[in-house]
Symmetry: C2
Subunit: 356 residues, 2 copies
């Protein structure tokens, strides 16, 4: 190892050039290509030497002796950390994303799906999202409504506009006034509680406060419990899986299958996303083998978190080939995060600072 093995500005420029080219073409990049396309004022021979050094240092790899170089994970890492030049999105892009995102959003579930879909469309990769379980979520209201003879509806509303409901069938048709009374008691007892303060005991304990035969009350209480319980049963959102099929690195059906199967499990989505809770305000990038999950080892995950109100935090991200267009993805991600946050707050009226 002599001095030429140390990193210098020129090596970085070459590395950046190689990665930029490789991102576009998916073909190994040779020294001549770099010499021709980028005006570094260097001959191919010089570049060749530098590339050999970069390979020795672990930033580039060679599929076989007489091929060009492709970036290694270490190379991509350096690239996204220091070399990348963030491209501004064009005004049209920004506007089109902005318009798309604010189009319609009247419910959390739909908003999430909408955001996911926009993200995958804008990037051309797979987009994923979850709202991780967090049971400090607080119940805002619980109500029981008569629907038709023999049927009631239990509705519960939690922070962040999460609404769940259950139909209850009961053999006798209760008096509307009775339903209203039950509803009122339930609401006064339960609303304001945190999710983790609620369990079957608490709910069943409520029957002490209502003088009514168990046979009538129990189905209702069970439904309430069930309904509240489903508040933090969260789903994962996935969109744009088709997109990946367009990239040559995903032409192998078994690889694609493994990846797609991975995305069927909500659990895995969470694992892909919740990589790094600490710097949650920023964009996190997991390149290839940096991913924990085996099946995602030749993909890159770019993700970010977004606080929603005081007690929830959603994660959104995209999955693509390691040679993804990082610059563009990061820009879109940041924009999307901001717009999503806006949209959420517009919908649910700020971060509910009237808490405690």
């Amino acid at each position: 190892m002599n001095s030429s093995d140390w990193m210098n500005e020129r090596k970085l420029n070459i590395l950046r050039a190689v990665i930029n080219d490789y991102i576009m073409t998916a073909e190994p990049i040779g020294s001549r290509t770099i010499a021709r396309k980028h005006e570094l004022g260097l001959s191919s021979a010089t570049i060749r030497n530098e590339m050999a050094d970069l390979e020795e240092m672990g930033y580039l790899a060679q599929p076989h002796t007489s091929a060009g170089r492709i970036p290694s994970v270490k190379g991509y890492r350096l690239y996204v950390d220091h070399l990348i030049r963030l491209t501004e999105l064009t005004l049209e892009e920004v506007i089109s994303i902005r318009n798309a995102i604010s189009e319609q959003a009247f419910e959390l579930n739909r908003l999430m799906r909408h955001v996911t879909s926009i993200l995958s469309e804008a990037t051309g990769y797979i987009s994923i999202a979850t709202i991780p379980k967090m049971n400090q979520n607080k119940i805002k209201a619980v109500q029981v409504l008569p629907v038709e003879p023999g049927k009631l509806l239990v509705v519960s509303v939690a922070e962040g506009g999460i609404v769940r409901n259950r139909l209850v069938r009961i053999s006798v048709t209760p008096d509307p006034n009775f339903v209203q009374k039950v509803s009122r008691v339930l609401n006064s007892k339960i609303s304001g509680l945190n999710m983790n303060e609620i369990n079957l005991e608490v709910i069943r304990g409520i029957k002490e406060d209502i003088q009514v035969p168990d046979s009538m009350l129990m189905p209702i209480l069970d439904a309430v419990y069930d309904c509240i319980g489903s508040i933090d049963s969260n789903e994962a959102y996935v969109d744009g899986t088709v997109n990946l099929l367009g990239y040559p690195e995903f032409h192998d059906p078994v690889r694609v299958r493994e990846l797609f199967r991975l995305l069927d499990e909500e659990n895995n989505i969470q694992q892909l996303l919740n990589r790094d809770e600490t710097n949650s305000t920023n964009v996190t990038i997991s390149i290839g083998t940096e991913n924990r999950l085996e099946q995602a080892r030749d993909s890159t995950v770019v993700s970010t978190s977004c606080p929603m109100g005081d007690s929830m935090m959603s994660s959104i991200g995209i999955i693509g080939p390691t040679r993804m267009d990082y610059s563009r993805v990061i820009s879109i991600m940041k924009l999307d995060r901001r717009l999503f946050k806006n949209e959420f707050e517009k919908l649910y009226n700020g971060n509910n600072s009237e808490e405690t």
Copy 2:
């Protein structure tokens, strides 16, 4: 054309054998294979002659001169219409599907997703489902609930247990009694109406019946309208897309991509499913080019409809390669349909015959 060109029992047996084999192997089937594996008491030469006839008649095709035969669409058609021997599912299979399906179903949306997922898992193909729009659906109840200061929740329930809700923000916090009154008037005016009897006029007309400043009432009425409108905005359910990647006929990424992209549009799903409304009680099969949609021309769609209550009809189906295991798929489909119907009725208490 001499007498040997007419269809006879032996030809049918050979056709069945070819199709059965091809379904298993996805390779062109030669005369020797048939002579060896199936005891038809015939030599390969005889079978060869018959196969040549079958080809001339359009039931078989030959990829090239010196290859075996593969079934044509016409061949498959004959097969499913007359030749197929329905295999009984094993008891274990039936039990496992039955258990899976009755596991958890407390809401229509979830039930649909659940059924779709089971269907794709049981068959190994893609499963799809929709509940086509039908606006004779009837509103059962509409209610407005206070959630927290400045926020109300509008809930509407339609036949078949379809529940929708919208959050409403209003600048002033209305008195609970006022909310209750509005709720009562709304409910009495709207519940019982058919979807197609409801429009913006009707809803806004309700304000005549409530003496209250517009500024307070209008957001609520708009939300009600919106909420009711979303009752028949139906989604399509798709599951098991990964499955197809395992079959050699779907190894071509561009073909797969086209098919998958097709499935992104709810509209297309409906088109694939609602082929044949007439014999809706039975299983409908669309083989290859029989499909209307270009992108599904080398797949087969097997579907069936299932009445839900009096006013809704859902369609479920599966998509697979034309050489799918028809026998098994049909059995599973019928079982699934029956179990689904049961489950639905269990959930929503029969077909609500107290209508009119």
